[in-house]
């Protein structure tokens, strides 16, 4: 009985991990409309959490705190996830510590930027 419970908890963790992978994949299709590169390859996503029920928490940044498109990018993140999971609550927290820098761009992102 004890061992079955352990197996159930383990499979739940696996489900959470799979869901987080799916959410990250969704985010890799959200574009920064000015730079025209997705926000995952730009390195703007700091953390993705899923509580295993119906809440997704995303901690992300912007290439500059003064970004005039911040509302549009945040709305795009929320709506993209809600399209796949209409009943989910999506919390997006914008943070500027640590400050975003070039080292956060993925190799694919660097190719897209022409670096």
């Amino acid at each position: 009985m004890n061992s079955t419970n352990k197996e159930t908890i383990k499979s739940k963790e696996e489900i959470v991990e799979i869901e987080i992978d799916i959410i990250e994949n969704i985010l890799s299709h959200v574009m920064d409309p000015e730079i025209e590169i997705d926000i995952v390859n730009l390195g703007l996503i700091y953390e993705v959490d899923y509580d295993g029920k119906n809440t997704v928490a995303i901690e992300m940044t912007l290439s500059t705190p003064a970004c005039p498109l911040s509302d549009a990018i945040v709305a795009s993140v929320k709506e993209s996830i809600k399209r796949k999971y209409p009943d989910f609550k999506v919390d997006v927290k914008l943070v500027f510590e640590p400050r975003w820098h070039a080292g956060m761009i993925t190799e694919a992102g660097k190719v897209m930027l022409g670096m």
């Binding site: 509302d71 709305a75 709506e79």
Partner: protein, 428 residues
């Protein structure tokens, strides 16, 4: 919350009309220049040239700058505009004043219409200055960029005050020196105090943002700010009280050092940029900033060359052209392509992002037209400058004709963006 400045952005109904009127004003300037070739080659203190200069500076450059500033202020000041109603009232009063003032100059009604036109212009600019000053007072954390812009607005007030006094003087004749003397001061307060400070303030926040450059040495901007402002104060005091050539040269050195600090900041931004490929907006911007060196050098040449020969008068015309068309207009073209598509895009698509497939902001205008406009503009400016230097009317006319073509392309792209209808597609 830091970073959510779009919540502070003004309605696009306030911002967009400035771009449309600015685009139309440039077309009017280009047509008037094309029919005023003889005046361009003979003198700069001519009623028609003064009328064209005021349409260019107020109707084209300032109108575009006002529109862009209303959008940029929330980003730089991190607060909303003090009053959108005041901005709307300013727009209409400013528009009427530009027409009235330019007409007064064009028909040379110095002692009659100009008095009323300048009074109306003074009042409309005062509304703009009050609105932006009260917005600045709401700023919690003033930065060097907001200081540049706010100080530029004070210099605009000084420019306008002197311009109005000169206009009044045509009617009541109370100033001690010649009109030409005061017009020189008026022009320099406007070009250096208002436009140069504004260019540095706006460019030093926009260029690093668009080029994606970080960890820049902002101290250079502090030095630039103090060198330019102290030197301009020195120059103004000298123009009014001493009129010493040596003090003027000293003030020139101070302004030049300030510009060099800014150029060094832009070079650092450019060389450390992550975004390697420059789009048309950034190409205009880079050339505009590099072009700053030309009016700076021409100012020195004019300062040390004493006699007002015909050649010196033409160099003075080129000095004005290089600043208005080489630096200011070039930057406005560039920033139009970097701001207007986003203003329209946010207005049309903000509620659809993530839910539907939307076009990208750059797809709201024709990139092909923008490219043709860019190269045609470089051609037009080169021909106009060469035409004035060599005193060749034909070369000048080719340049001004191409400028009409450029103004048409510019207006076509502005209207294409403004008239853009929302186009969304399902994501699947």
């Amino acid at each position: 919350m830091n970073g959510l400045q779009t919540a502070n952005a003004p309605s696009s109904k306030i911002v967009v009309p400035h771009f449309v009127v600015g685009g139309i004003a440039l077309l009017i300037v280009a047509i008037l220049l094309a029919i005023s070739t003889p005046e361009l080659l003979t003198a700069y203190f001519d009623n028609k040239l003064i009328a064209i200069t005021h349409i260019a500076i107020l109707g084209w450059a300032s109108m575009m700058v006002f529109g862009a500033l209303y959008q940029l202020i929330p980003v730089v000041y991190e607060t909303s505009l003090y009053s959108e109603k005041l901005a709307s009232l300013t727009f209409w009063l400013f528009l009427i004043s530009i027409g009235f003032l330019s007409y007064s100059f064009w028909i040379a009604s110095y002692s009659n219409l100009l008095f009323y036109a300048s009074l109306l212009m003074f009042f409309s600019l005062l509304l703009f200055i009050i609105n932006l000053h009260l917005t600045y007072r709401k700023t919690k954390k003033p930065n060097i960029q907001s200081k540049f812009i706010n100080t530029g607005i004070y210099w605009l007030a000084a420019t306008e005050l002197l311009g109005t006094l000169v206009a009044f003087n045509f009617k009541y004749n109370f100033l001690s020196d010649s009109h030409l003397h005061y017009l020189k001061i008026h022009a320099h307060l406007g070009l250096v105090g208002w436009f140069l400070l504004l260019i540095i303030g706006a460019a030093s926040i926009l260029i690093p943002m668009f080029m994606i450059s970080h960890n820049l040495n902002a101290k250079k901007l502090d030095y630039s700010y103090y060198f330019i402002n102290i030197s301009l104060l020195l120059a103004m005091t000298n123009w009014f009280l001493f009129q010493s050539k040596y003090v003027s040269i000293l003030a020139w050195i101070g302004i030049a050092i300030g510009v060099v600090f800014f150029l060094s900041f832009v070079y650092e931004t450019y060389s450390t940029r992550l975004r390697r490929k420059l789009d048309v907006g950034l190409k205009y911007t880079v050339i505009s900033i590099s072009f700053l060196i030309i009016p700076i050098l021409l100012a020195l040449f004019l300062l040390i060359s004493g006699n007002s020969t015909a050649f010196i008068l033409r160099v003075t015309t080129i000095y004005g052209i290089s600043m208005i068309f080489g630096v200011i207009s070039m930057l406005i073209f560039g920033q139009t392509y970097k701001t207007l598509p986003f203003i329209i895009w946010l207005d049309r698509y903000q509620n659809y992002v993530g839910k539907y497939k939307t076009p990208l902001p750059r797809q709201l205008y024709s990139e092909k037209l923008a490219d043709v406009q860019f190269y045609s503009y470089l051609f037009a400016i080169s021909f106009i400058i060469i035409g004035v230097i060599l005193k060749q009317a034909v070369i000048l006319q080719i340049g001004t004709s191409v400028l009409i073509f450029v103004a048409l392309l510019n207006l076509a792209n502005i209207l294409k963006m403004v008239w853009h209808k929302t186009k969304i597609e399902d994501l699947d």
